[in-house]
Structure formats: structure tokens, C-alpha cells
């Protein structure tokens, strides 16, 4: 079989960014809170590899700290989405009928809201901030996970092994937990990767319009926003966070595709 290059590259890039995010929890080359107006807007040089911004902060350090926000928000949003969506999907598939209708029409209602609009609504009520961005993105992940797990579960329920489990006296809950969920694992991991990359973009988008992480919490989206007026003067300020986001999302998508190929179960 041909080597799964998608998976290899995807794992490398994703692990790299997550590693950087973890590292930023403890150490960045320069303190991102300290201003150095004298050294502002330096182009990339030996001391500041990616240059400095309008307040003299090190761009590399800001990107590392931004990765921390990005990974944190997207990851928790995926956990919220999967944590609520997967059980809902499994319940809908196991009980069918009215419960199924209720769950799926509830999903449709969430889907019917434009994502950004609801995020604005949530931040308008709760105030802007990283936590509220997590909630907004997480809510939008719920119906995605519910649908994917319901579709996979419906298929798994048609197999005779679920019948055998019922003959062995097991109820719908137990069969869902023991037989259905493990067989959805591949599907869910792939979906989680995709939602993770969408979460990274959504976090940056919310921060860009000022609804995400607030200063001084660093964020790629806000870096882009702040760099906007300075693009002619200091292009690296916009290019560097943009590149970081592009690479990370690309890596996650490669990972998702690679995982999808490698989890096609041989029966």
C-alpha cells in the first residue's frame, strides 16, 4: 500500500503547532505583556526572527501565545460539540420515532442560524471574550456531531451483531455504548479534526471583528486586525499570523483526510 503522506504530514504539522501552544504556556522568547516602544516595527532580524509590532512586542512570541488561544478555544469547542452531539446522535438512532424527530429538528434549528450572527448574539449578551467564543463555536459543533454519529449509528444498527446483542438481553443504551460507539470511532475522530480546523478559523474570525479574545490575551485574529492599518509599513505583521493560521488549518485538514483513509475498517 502507498504510504499515507496526508497522515504523516498532517501529524507533523498539527503536532508542531500543538507543541508550540503547550510550550507557550511556560515560555516564549520574549514577554508578550512588556512593551518596548523604542524597538517598535522592527523587520525580521536575528534577535526578533519575525520582527516586532507597533508596540515593540516580539511577533514570534505573540504567534506562539496566539497558538495557545487558538488551540485552546478550538479544542474545548470540539469537546463541547462531541460531548453533547454524539450522545444526542446515538439516542436518536437507538430510539428512532418521536425522539429522533425531536433531536434532529432541534439540530435543524441551530443549523438555521448563521453562525456568526449567533456568536454576535452570545457576545452581546455575555460580553466578548475567549470563553464566550468557545461557547458560541461549541454550540455550532453540536449538530454536526449529532448528525454524523446518528448517520453512522443507523448503519451500525442494521447489522446482525446488534440483533445478537439484543438476543443476549442487552438494552439500547448498552448496545450503543458497547457496539455502536466503538464502531463510530473512526468517523468521529475525522469529524473532530475537521471541526477543530473550523474552530481555529472561527476563533480568528471572531477575534478579528473584536468578539473573541480581548487584549491582552493574544490571538491571531486580533493580530491581523491590528496589522491591517500598517500593512504598507510593516507587511510581516499581517503575513506572519496569516501564514501560521494557513499552515495549521492545512495541517489539520491533511490529518483529517489521512485519518479518514487509515480508519477504513477491514471487515
Amino acid at each position: 500500500m502507498a504510504r499515507n503522506w496526508n497522515l504523516t504530514l498532517g501529524v507533523m504539522v498539527t503536532a508542531g503547532f500543538i507543541g508550540v501552544a503547550v510550550l507557550a504556556l511556560f515560555w516564549t522568547p520574549f514577554n508578550t505583556q512588556t512593551l518596548n516602544i523604542a524597538g517598535k516595527l522592527q523587520p525580521p532580524n536575528l534577535q526578533h526572527w519575525l520582527g516586532t509590532d507597533q508596540l515593540g512586542r516580539d511577533v514570534l512570541s505573540l504567534i506562539m501565545a496566539g497558538a495557545k488561544t487558538s488551540v485552546g478555544v478550538a479544542l474545548v469547542a470540539v469537546i463541547i460539540g462531541a460531548g453533547a452531539g454524539v450522545p444526542l446522535g446515538l439516542i436518536a438512532a437507538a430510539y428512532r420515532g418521536a425522539i429522533d424527530e425531536l433531536v434532529m429538528r432541534g439540530n435543524d434549528v441551530i443549523f438555521a442560524f448563521p453562525a456568526l450572527l449567533l456568536a454576535i448574539l452570545i457576545t452581546a449578551v455575555l460580553g466578548p471574550g475567549a470563553i464566550n467564543a468557545i461557547i458560541a463555536i461549541g454550540i455550532f459543533n453540536i449538530p454536526v456531531f449529532a448528525r454524523v454519529s446518528r448517520a453512522g449509528a443507523l448503519q451500525a444498527w442494521t447489522r446482525d451483531y446488534t440483533l445478537a446483542a439484543r438476543v443476549a438481553g442487552k438494552g439500547s443504551w448498552r448496545i450503543s455504548w458497547e457496539h455502536i460507539l466503538p464502531n463510530l470511532w473512526g468517523l468521529l475522530v475525522v469529524q473532530a479534526t475537521i471541526q477543530f480546523s473550523l474552530g481555529v478559523i472561527a476563533e480568528a474570525g471572531l477575534a478579528y471583528v473584536g468578539l473573541g479574545a480581548q487584549p491582552p490575551v493574544p490571538s491571531w485574529g486580533r493580530m491581523l486586525n491590528e496589522a491591517q492599518t500598517l500593512t504598507a509599513l510593516a507587511p510581516w505583521l499581517a503575513v506572519m499570523p496569516g501564514l501560521a493560521m494557513l499552515l495549521f488549518v492545512l495541517g489539520l485538514n491533511l490529518l483529517g483526510e489521512g485519518l479518514r483513509r487509515s480508519t477504513e475498517v477491514t471487515r
Binding site: D160, Y161, V167
Partner: protein, 535 residues
């Protein structure tokens, strides 16, 4: 039939196919004359289907072919794909086992047949439609108005196979290849489709290559037979020669498997206690709503069925698909509650109710299903799969005790104790069915229900599994409820038979009594339609 000297419809010479370094077909040669029916018979994995695909030059990627395939004198081997596309469907028609997947679900059957015509001949839509209509008529799908406007899902399995046949014959090919054309069909439908194929071959002087594993079908239909084993034709001759004077042991074992001698030594004593009793069970399903105001009357799948099984007895439940036997089985296994009536197991009522009493009852009724692939969670090892019914015990064995009991049943069904650590995909279909039997045995039930448990198996494997079941029934005194459409199987194993038609039991009696003197017209039709080998 007087065109050229060598007008075989099909001539195959020294055909070999290899995939990688593995030879799949080795030096196979045969021919089919105009109007002649040649049977290609063998167990699964013998290379017979691959031979049919090689003739159509439709090999899987990676397969390398050598040798000559000639269609009425014209060589097909080595021709371009574009040329082959004009040949397929025009000069050779092909029919597969599963007709549903061969049809476009969104296109009415008349159009599907007409499409084949328009692909191969530049004709107007109207002419193509007329040709399609004629082909469908010949395939026996005429009758009521609008018959050609129907969609595949509206048709029964047999009717779908007739559409596939119409598509294959509409261009009047000189050769028709049929790969297990009736394996997915009921006996009565099978008899009709086989008769249709024979008439078509005879009346049009069309060569027919029939690929099958069933010697009884071979005996009914073919003029000559080629027996395949491990990619080689090991024996070749007229059907009468092969049936009566087959030289090879393999041929004789295929014949024996098709005859399926009786496996069950002696029936259970008639005075044994009743273990399973079904009393007046009615099961209904809501029908699709057509009117806004009036709910349609429900479909009665099971209509007042009563039956009983005694300790250690093997009981057969026979019927065509749609006769309600699967719905009845769901009620018996307490997977659904009946609309009316009741089921009792060892004297206690048995229903879908959960709880301790329900669990205790379930322990005494286990089941084996048809699909040897789908019956097992692919992510569980065999030991965990077999031990799943231990869930029904109040104090299930754990650790070494569990392993010991699993090893014991594995050995009882003819597998090895260390197979417990392997995963289901590592086993063949017959071995998986043995694992399913082991899973049914582990709680030491009083009754095991078998839902078409041997119909997905190869003939030779089927015989071994039935032998095992008869042995287990005698040793363990367990009762069986055998649900199937296959009369051969029932005759080989059942002590007593219930015949089911349209949701009702129409006849009941001891196996040999029913086979020798069927009273009900439906039973007679079933027995007559079952292909039989000359004694």
C-alpha cells in the same frame, strides 16, 4: 447454425489468470455451442466467477490474463477497451446474482432496457422502446398496463432478475453468461427463472454459460458440465455422464452436498415436554399512508400462528420470502411484542420485558443469524463475542473461568481454543458460522433459533455445518427452530415441519410425511419447484 465451420458461440482456450504471483485460473479450455447450455460448477473460490469475468474481459485491476477467448470465431483477448465495449451487451449478455445492484434505482425498467439498445444501435427512441418492450415481454414482464414504467424498488427479486435478463437479451446476443442467477431467489421464482433461461437459449439458438455452485440446478438445466476446482477444470462431460459417472471425488462431493443426505439420526421422543409454545400470534405493521384522512389497514405479516417445540426436537419453519417467517421469528425471540397472542418458553410467558425474569428466560433461547459477516462486531475478539450472552447470567464467570467455558464451546463447534484471541475477520464464512453457534451454545439454552443460518454458505461448507448441528442436537439435547426457504436443508435436519404462507401456517407434520405426501397446494408447489437431482 450453418454459418462457418467453427461457430461456437464461445470458445475459451488455455485461459489463465494470475493476480500478482498467485494463479487464479490455470489453463482452462471449453466451448459453448449455439443453443447449448454449459454449466460451470464449483465451490466458492474455485475460480468460476473469475472465468466468467475473464470472458467479458472485465478483470479486477492487477489481474493478468493469457490464452484465447473467442466469440463466434472472433478473438476478444487483446482487443481495445473501446471495441470491447461494443461487444459487451451486444454480442454477450451477462446476468449477476444480485439483480438490485445491477439496476439503476431511479430509472423505469422500460427505459433501462431501451438504454442498452440505444448504446449499441443508432435507433430512434420509439424503436428502442419497442425493442425493450419485446425483450421485457419475452422475459415474462408483460401483463398489466404501465408495467414498463415501474421502478426497480416496486418489483420483487424475481421480477428484477427478469429485468436483468431482458437487458441481457435485448440485443439478441449469441452468448449469455449467467453467474449464480437464482441464488438470491426463492425456490418457486428460481424454477421460473431457470425455465425462462432454458427457453431463451433453445428458441434463439443462444449459447448459455451458467455459473453455479448448485449441482441440482446443473442437473435441471444444462447439456454439458465443466467442474472447476482451484482454478482448473478437473472434469468435463455431458450432464448425464457427470451426474451418474463422475470420476473425480470432488465432483461426487459436490453432488453429495447438493443431494444433502439426512443428517439427523433419530427424532426426539414425541412425549418430550414442550419447551417453546407460540399461541395465536398476530403481528401487524402500519402501511404507507396514501389518503390524508383515512389510515390504511395495517399489513398483517403474521396472522394467528401457533406452534410448539418439544425438548431436543428440530423443527423447520419453511416459507418464501414475504411469508412472514422473519416477523414471526422476531416475536419468538422477544425482539418485538406481538399485536395479539403470546409466546411461552419453558412454561413462562416470554416477552420484550426486561428485568431479571426476562433475562432468565432469554438464557434459554438463543439465535444464529444468516449473515456470517454482519453477525459479529468487527472490533471485538472472539472470546468477548462468544461470552456476550453471559450478560444474561446472574453471576457471569470472569477471567479464567470465562476463558475455559469459551474454549469448551469453541471445541464443541470444531474450532480451536486459541481462536478465542483472534478477530472475526480472520475467519472464513463457515468458521464464522461456527463461532455464531458457539455464541448461541454458551448459555446452554433449551432452544436455538436459526434464521437462514446456512443459506449464505457454500454447498460443501453447508453440509459440514448441518452435520455439526445434528451432532450437537444429539449430544446436548438442545431443540432447534430452523427458519429457512431451502427445502433441502429442512429435509436434511428437521424432525417436523411447519409450512408458512402469507402469514399463516398452512401445513404441519413429520418431515418425511410432508415430503412424501404434501396435503396443501402451496407445499406441493414448493416441493415441485425445488431442483432435484436424479437419484
Amino acid at each position: 447454425m450453418t454459418e462457418r465451420a467453427s461457430t461456437h458461440a464461445l470458445r475459451v482456450e488455455e485461459l489463465s489468470v494470475t493476480i500478482g504471483a498467485t494463479p487464479i485460473i490455470k489453463q482452462v479450455s471449453f466451448s459453448v455451442g449455439a443453443g447449448e447450455i454449459l454449466g460451470l460448477v464449483g465451490a466458492s473460490g474455485s475460480g468460476k466467477s473469475m472465468t466468467a469475468r475473464a470472458i467479458m474481459q472485465l478483470l479486477p485491476s492487477g489481474a493478468v490474463m493469457s490464452g484465447v477467448v473467442a466469440l463466434h470465431g472472433e478473438r476478444l483477448s487483446g482487443r481495445s477497451e473501446a471495441h470491447l465495449q461494443t461487444v459487451r451487451g451486444r454480442d454477450v449478455g451477462m446476468i449477476f446474482q444480485e439483480p438490485m445492484s445491477a439496476l439503476n434505482p431511479l430509472m423505469c425498467i422500460g427505459d433501462q432496457v431501451a438504454e442498452t439498445v440505444r448504446l449499441h444501435r443508432s435507433v430512434s427512441r420509439a424503436e428502442a422502446r419497442d425493442a425493450a418492450r419485446a425483450a421485457l415481454d419475452q422475459a415474462g414482464l408483460s401483463g398489466e398496463a404501465g408495467a414498463h414504467q415501474r421502478l426497480p424498488y416496486e418489483l420483487s427479486g424475481g421480477q428484477r432478475q427478469r429485468v436483468a435478463i431482458a437487458m441481457a437479451i435485448v440485443m439478441q446476443p449469441r452468448l449469455l453468461i449467467a453467474d449464480e442467477p437464482t441464488t438470491a431467489l426463492d425456490v418457486i421464482t428460481q424454477a421460473q427463472v431457470l425455465a425462462l433461461l432454458r427457453d431463451l437459449a433453445r428458441s434463439r439458438g443462444m449459447g448459455l454459460l451458467l455459473v453455479t455452485h448448485d449441482m441440482a440446478v446443473i442437473a435441471q438445466l444444462t447439456d454439458r458440465v465443466a467442474v472447476m476446482r482451484q482454478g482448473e477444470i478437473i472434469e468435463h462431460g455431458t450432464t448425464a455422464e457427470i451426474l451418474h459417472h463422475g470420476r473425480e471425488a470432488y465432483t461426487r462431493s459436490l453432488l453429495a452436498a447438493a443431494r444433502l443426505p439426512r443428517k439427523r439420526a433419530k427424532p426426539a421422543p414425541p412425549d418430550a415436554a414442550v419447551v417453546l409454545k407460540v399461541d395465536g400470534v398476530v403481528q401487524e405493521y402500519p402501511r404507507k399512508r396514501r389518503s390524508l384522512f383515512k389510515a390504511p389497514p395495517p399489513l398483517r405479516a403474521v396472522d394467528g400462528v401457533s406452534l410448539s417445540i418439544r425438548a431436543g426436537e428440530t423443527v423447520g419453519l419453511v416459507g418464501e420470502s414475504g411469508s412472514g417467517k422473519s416477523s414471526l421469528l422476531k416475536v419468538i425471540l422477544a425482539l418485538q411484542n406481538p399485536a395479539q397472542g403470546s409466546v411461552s418458553l419453558l412454561g413462562d410467558a416470554f416477552s420484550t420485558a426486561a428485568g431479571a425474569a426476562g433475562k432468565r428466560a432469554r438464557r434459554n433461547l438463543q439465535a444464529v443469524f444468516q449473515d456470517p459477516v454482519g453477525s459479529f462486531d468487527p472490533r471485538w475478539p472472539v472470546e468477548r463475542l462468544i461470552a456476550e450472552p453471559f450478560f444474561l447470567l446472574d453471576a457471569p464467570p470472569t477471567g479464567a473461568a470465562r476463558s475455559r467455558q469459551v474454549a469448551e464451546v469453541l471445541e464443541q463447534v470444531g474450532l480451536k481454543a486459541d481462536d478465542a484471541r483472534r478477530y472475526p475477520h480472520e475467519f472464513s464464512g463457515g468458521q464464522r458460522q461456527r463461532i455464531a453457534i458457539a455464541r448461541a451454545l454458551i448459555t446452554r439454552p433449551a432452544v436455538i433459533a436459526f434464521d437462514e443460518a446456512v443459506s449464505a454458505l457454500d454447498v460443501l461448507v453447508r453440509e459440514q455445518i448441518l452435520e455439526l448441528l445434528a451432532q450437537l442436537a444429539a449430544d446436548l439435547k438442545v431443540a432447534y427452530l430452523f427458519v429457512t426457504h431451502d427445502l433441502h436443508v429442512i429435509r436434511a435436519i428437521a424432525d417436523r415441519i411447519y409450512v408458512m404462507q402469507s402469514g399463516r401456517i398452512v401445513e404441519e407434520g413429520a418431515t418425511e410425511a410432508i415430503f412424501s405426501a404434501p396435503r396443501h397446494a402451496y407445499t406441493r408447489a414448493l416441493i415441485e419447484a425445488t431442483p432435484a437431482l436424479p437419484a
